[in-house]
């Protein structure tokens, strides 16, 4: 079984992340790492391959040319090779443009299974798999917290606002996994050393057959108009409980007509 895992390099979570006010794009010049949610998808792909005793795990990504530094973590965990689509004309891609590029890169691989993590920590998006599945004309299941793959199909349990759904889909399929599905392994020292020697292909838009007008800002349909600091929440009251804490909360709720 050939499993493709879509991964993304993101700015490290924390206070140093910023959106460049000039380009209104994510500033990707600082410390970067592989999107933590993608590690769960890589882990699941490795487990499926190990359970089957055969197969290939390919990491697929779009990003700056330096993104391989982060993607190598997935190779260190055990993925077999990586394909990075990197092209100046792909910078600033929104959802549709990104889906177009990734779908083209995936099509070239003809995987049996396409895995995604549950969201990206930079854009907070959690929709890309659905767009890619539509482009690939494959069934999609998202937010998967339990997964069985075998006999040419995937059976997935996933959480919604109402409880748990169990959904079955024939392969090839696009599956997005929740971070509750597994605990990603740490790359071993041997894995990290070996990762550098694994195949890492950097492709241009032309290599994957995408017209420059369908990627980057030219292929995007959303815009960022302006950026602002968030408003402060205003007054906060902090009181040490002297036995009247419950009463104080109650009075406060009454005042705000919440009881």
């Amino acid at each position: 079984m050939k499993i493709a895992v879509c991964v993304k390099e993101v700015p490290d979570p924390g206070p140093n992340r910023r959106i460049d006010p000039g380009t209104k794009r994510m500033d990707r010049s600082g410390d970067r790492s592989l999107n933590q949610y993608d590690l769960h998808a890589v882990e699941q792909a490795l487990r499926l391959k190990e359970a089957e005793g055969d197969g290939e795990v390919v990491l697929i990504s779009m990003g700056t040319s330096r993104a391989l530094d982060s993607i190598r973590k997935g190779l260190g965990m055990g993925a077999d090779r990586a394909v990075l689509v990197s092209d100046d004309a792909a910078a600033g891609s929104d959802l549709v443009a990104t889906a177009t590029v990734l779908a083209a890169a995936l099509q070239a691989e003809s995987p049996d299974l396409v895995l995604f993590g549950q969201q990206a920590t930079d854009g907070d998006g959690a929709v890309l798999w659905a767009a890619v599945a539509d482009k690939l004309r494959m069934p999609v299941v998202s937010q998967i917290s339990e997964l069985e793959v075998g006999g040419g199909q995937a059976t997935a349990k996933r959480q919604t606002e109402f409880g748990y759904d169990t959904i079955r889909a024939p392969l090839p399929a696009v599956l997005a996994v929740a971070d509750s599905l597994n605990e990603p392994r740490y790359p071993s020292l041997k894995g990290i050393m070996g990762a550098k020697k694994k195949p890492q292909e950097v492709k241009s838009l032309a290599d994957v057959g995408v017209d420059a007008g369908d990627a980057g800002e030219a292929g995007s349909r959303t815009t960022v108009i302006g950026l602002y600091p968030p408003p402060s929440r205003g007054e906060t009251i902090k009181i040490e409980d002297d036995g009247s804490g419950a009463q104080k909360i109650f009075d406060f709720l009454l005042e705000r007509k919440l009881v």
Partner: protein, 319 residues
């Protein structure tokens, strides 16, 4: 502006989040239409009129019974093209996100997500969203039609305006790949009170509760307040409370009228899921807990004493 709102339903009612989006859309576009996609949904179509829809398109087919996204993309894609809608809005949910993402690809359309407000400026529709752990706010737009938007849960109140909607049935043609995924089972968790994204009042328990048994005192308080109980990542990871109740970056984003945190430290991963709550009250024995920085009212104290007392006070008031 010609706007379509995706009216997600569950059982025989339209979701509150979708009705909120509909009510907001009706302010921006008096001729807003809604679309209901499912099986046996004709009867509830007229309800949308009371929340501002002038028209409701109904795709009613047994093949649309299960809440799966791809058949809904087929129906929406054709409807948007046939009717020429320039804006399609969704109240965020697991289903709606997958439908919106698929529709964006199908129509080659722009999708903005996490929107907490919408306005129409000189340049057309503008969405408001926060980004990077709510450390920055952004005005976002669209450079082409149709414009797709996913609205953060709890952003708009479903205000009844009492109108009536014309109902029009539409045909259903599904793509071959759209019916490949099938629902095997829907094991719906028993929901005690409203689900946390729909509740006006949330009582949230964190690691400071000390033990899973202590959730019972929060359940009692939530019950007398008419709210629901929510939890944090730490508590869910420890197996103290079920994942559907988890608020935060990896859980649900909530915006209740009242968020009351008991033993919740207010780590950033949790904060991003609840900081748009209208009123935040915190009880924590650690005076340095970050939650006090963004609480309207904070009590440094023992939740085991304060919470039961508060429950009694509310009970007395209601009696």
């Amino acid at each position: 502006m010609s706007t379509l709102v995706f009216l997600e339903h569950h059982g025989s009612s339209i979701q509150r989040g979708a009705l909120g989006v509909l009510a907001k859309a009706a302010q921006l576009d008096p001729d807003v239409a809604g679309v209901l996609i499912g099986s046996g949904v004709r009867e509830i179509a007229a309800d949308a009129g009371r929340f501002g829809a002038k028209k409701v398109f109904v795709a009613d087919d047994p093949a649309l019974d299960a809440p799966l996204p791809q058949p809904r993309v087929d129906v929406l894609g054709k409807l948007v093209q046939d009717q020429g809608f320039d804006t399609v809005l969704f109240g965020a949910s697991v289903l709606a996100a997958d439908v919106a993402g698929g529709l964006a690809a199908r129509l080659g359309a722009g999708l903005n997500w996490d929107l907490s407000d919408l306005e129409v400026g000189d340049g057309g529709l503008v969405g408001k969203r926060s980004a990077l752990g709510d450390t920055v706010l952004a005005d976002v737009g669209w450079s082409a039609d149709p414009k797709l938007g996913l609205i953060r849960a709890g952003s708009f109140d479903p205000a009844e305006t009492g109108g009536e909607a014309a109902v029009e049935e539409i045909g259903v043609e599904l793509e071959d790949f759209s019916s490949k995924a099938e629902m095997v089972e829907q094991a719906h968790a028993e929901q005690v009170g409203p689900s946390i994204e729909e509740a006006d009042i949330l009582v949230t328990g964190g690691r400071g509760l000390g033990s899973p048994e202590n959730f019972s005192i929060l359940e009692e308080l939530a019950s007398v307040l008419g709210g629901a109980v929510a939890s944090t990542r730490a508590v869910v990871d420890s197996g103290w409370y079920p994942y559907p109740t988890q608020v935060g970056q990896t859980g649900k984003v909530v915006s209740p009228k009242l968020y009351l945190g008991a033993g919740v430290s207010g780590a950033i991963q949790h904060k991003v899921g609840m900081q748009t709550s209208q009123t935040i009250v915190a009880i924590n024995k650690d005076p340095n807990a970050p939650i006090f920085e963004f609480s309207d009212m904070g009590i440094v104290g023992d939740l085991n004493e304060i919470v039961p007392k508060l429950t009694e006070l509310v009970k007395e008031r209601k009696a």
